[in-house]
């Protein structure tokens, strides 16, 4: 059974993590944008997106992520992803999202990269 979309925000020091859950489709639009607004309140230079608990992303979900990325780039902010399944890694490659968002296997690796980015 598909799990409905939900989202929460955590912070590691100055780096916010947006934890995504369930299915990312057009219904996720409002919640995702609201979470992003919360995540960037302190104007971080990096935002991490956690896909570990995401089981399905459709083309409209891809469009939402493109929207987030466009917002982030306007502010010179970087998005880092982790926890994507191999299939969605491939989807991010096909759509070339992976050219603009580095993807890491787990939170620890992503956090390491984020720290480097913050210091830089």
């Amino acid at each position: 059974m598909s799990k409905p979309f939900s989202v929460s925000v955590r912070h590691f020091d100055h780096t916010p993590v947006i934890d995504l859950h369930g299915e990312i489709n057009s219904l996720a639009d409002d919640d995702l944008n609201e979470a992003y607004v919360r995540a960037v309140q302190a104007d971080p230079s990096v935002v991490m997106l956690n896909f570990s608990d995401v089981d399905y992303i459709n083309s409209k979900g891809i469009a939402l992520i493109v929207g987030l990325l466009a917002q982030a780039r306007k502010k010179g902010r970087k998005l880092i992803t982790y926890g994507l399944s191999p299939h969605y890694v491939e989807i991010f490659n096909i759509t070339r999202l992976s050219d603009f968002m580095h993807n890491f296997e787990n939170e620890q690796e992503a956090l390491g990269a984020a720290t480097v980015e913050v210091k830089a």
């Binding site: 459709n58 083309s59 990325l69 070339r96 603009f100």
Partner: protein, 537 residues
């Protein structure tokens, strides 16, 4: 009745005037003289009434009546009139001029004449009936001759042979009514292997209808060679026919052009009965708007296009079929025809089936009211053709199912397909790709094809050959070729130059080995193909 009676009067008087000697059966009648000109009597003439109530010889000099016929008789020199009666009906008069001796007719003369009239009346009546029968026979023969001419014109102009097309069955049947209606059909060879199918009906019957049919046939054959589209052919045919067609006559006509190689059929209709097309999804009407030919100049005709799939059939027909009546005066009708088309076993001949159905509907001894014309076009269900279409051998159906058009059902379809294909042991990555492609194609079918109308189904078929898997997703939105959309460009999207959306088709194309799109007037079909590797079939 009076018209006939009046004719009999004339006959009798003419005969009396030309054959006076025939009346010389008694010496007294030597006095008979010729009466010229012939006397005519109208139904309301009081003399007629008088004779009917006063049988026996009558001296007209003494008669006081305001009668035009009486005046004519007197002017013709008639002195004595003897009515001829048969079964209480006045059938003629014996008119006698003055006796040569210039004496009045005696009572013996009158008695003799009355006897003569009584004896002659049956013979005169028989003669009249014989003559009437001869006139009717002549009229009937003239009519038969006219019908023979009409039949000859029609039969000469109807096709002598059926077209022979690889992968297609074409058949036709024409049965004229006794009065010969104006039905016609035709096949016209066109450049590039295309062929035009024509069926039509001229109002009116007999020779006038046959002549108009010959005219429109010639016009269509000429226009077909010069013009490409069915609508243009009908427009020109209408404009050429209109000035010459007799008043109150017109022609219904359906004109369709088939490309046998592709199954593409373009058609336009000038008010003819709508053909039925039998598909896997049911029986559909081939509708296209247009006025009959010859009614008004400057008409335009809607043009439609379909692609006939393997195993599909079209029935073209004339109103003689749908307007046939049974013994209870019930009409055959369109709903019955559509239902029969659905029930037809495609292994049998469609025309023979329809003729059987018509015969059992009308009953034995049916007097056919109008011409019946049937024309069928069937795309042969050819396994070799199917195989060559799919290039990889025979296909078998693994699973078929439908879902209502509600957002979210794309995931159910995705899981259903995955379950159906579980035994093929696809590598997980390939299965995941196919699942996403299936979900995207289903989402398009729900939202774009079926417009989120839950009552419309999305039909899914999962097929397998020795070398490939196919998932066929069908919606009810009708086939439209995929528009040449802008390829999604992430940079442009990030810069706000493209919408962030528009990834669906792009993903599908990148996730399966082959994407095919097809369908017909009512269905849009997307087929996703995945190649199998060794040991996966």
């Amino acid at each position: 009745m009076m018209k006939d009676s009046r004719n009999w009067w004339q006959v009798l008087l003419r005969r009396g005037s030309r054959e006076p000697q025939s009346a010389a059966v008694a010496p007294t009648l030597n006095a008979l003289s010729v009466v010229e000109p012939m006397v005519e009597m109208i139904e309301s003439d009081p003399l007629l009434l008088y004779f009917q109530h006063s049988p026996g010889a009558l001296d007209i000099e003494t008669l006081q009546l305001d009668s035009p016929a009486l005046r004519q008789l007197r002017a013709s020199g008639v002195k004595l009139v003897v009515p001829l009666m048969s079964q209480g009906e006045l059938i003629g008069l014996l008119n006698l001029g003055p006796r040569l001796s210039e004496q009045d007719y005696s009572s013996d003369d009158r008695a003799l004449l009355n006897t003569l009239a009584t004896q002659a009346s049956p013979a005169v009546r028989v003669a009249q009936l014989v003559q009437q029968q001869q006139v009717e026979t002549q009229q009937r023969e003239r009519l038969e001759q006219e019908l023979r001419v009409a039949r000859l014109i029609q039969q000469t102009l109807l096709p002598k042979a059926l077209p022979s097309l690889d992968g297609w069955n074409v058949n036709a049947f024409y049965q004229p009514a006794r009065a010969v209606g104006g039905d016609f059909y035709d096949f016209i060879d066109l450049p590039d292997g295309r062929i035009a199918f024509v069926i039509g009906d001229v109002t009116d019957k007999g020779v006038p209808a046959a002549l108009v049919m010959a005219t429109i046939r010639a016009i269509l054959r000429t226009s077909a060679q010069r013009l490409i589209t069915p609508s243009a052919v009908l427009e020109q045919a209408n404009d050429l026919l209109h000035p010459d067609i007799p008043p109150k006559m017109f022609v219904t006509c359906l004109y369709a052009v088939l490309e046998p190689a592709t199954g593409r059929l373009l058609f336009a209709n000038a008010g003819h009965d709508v053909p039925y097309r039998r598909t896997d999804g049911g029986v559909l009407e081939l509708r296209a708007r247009g006025m009959p030919l010859g009614l008004m100049p400057g008409m335009s005709y809607e043009e439609k296009e379909i692609t006939m799939g393997s195993g599909e059939s079209i029935l073209f027909y004339s109103d003689g079929l749908v307007e046939a009546h049974d013994t209870e005066r019930q009409m055959f009708g369109f709903p019955r025809l559509q239902a029969l088309m659905q029930q037809w076993d495609e292994r049998t001949d469609l025309i023979a089936y329809m003729r059987d159905q018509l015969e059992s509907f009308t009953g034995v001894g049916w007097e056919q009211e109008d011409d019946v014309t049937l024309m069928t076009l069937e795309r042969v269900c050819d396994v070799a053709q199917e195989e060559s279409m799919h290039a990889n051998g025979t296909w078998r159906t693994i699973k078929t199912f439908s879902v209502p058009s509600q957002t979210g059902n794309e995931r159910a379809v995705m899981e259903n397909v995955a379950e159906a294909l579980a035994s093929f042991n696809l590598p997980q990555a390939r299965m995941e790709r196919l699942k996403t492609a299936v979900a995207e194609a289903t989402m398009n079918a729900i939202e774009h094809g079926n417009q989120n109308r839950a009552e419309l189904p999305v039909d899914v078929a999962v097929l397998a050959s020795d070398h490939q898997l196919a998932v066929r997703i069908t919606d009810q939105g009708g086939h439209t070729p995929i528009a040449a959309k802008e390829e999604p460009n992430l940079e442009a999207k990030l810069e706000g130059l493209q919408s962030p959306r528009g990834w669906g088709l792009f993903l599908i194309k990148n996730l399966v080995d082959e994407l095919r799109v097809g369908g017909d007037e009512q269905h849009h079909v997307v087929e996703l193909l995945v190649n199998l590797e060794e040991g996966q079939s």
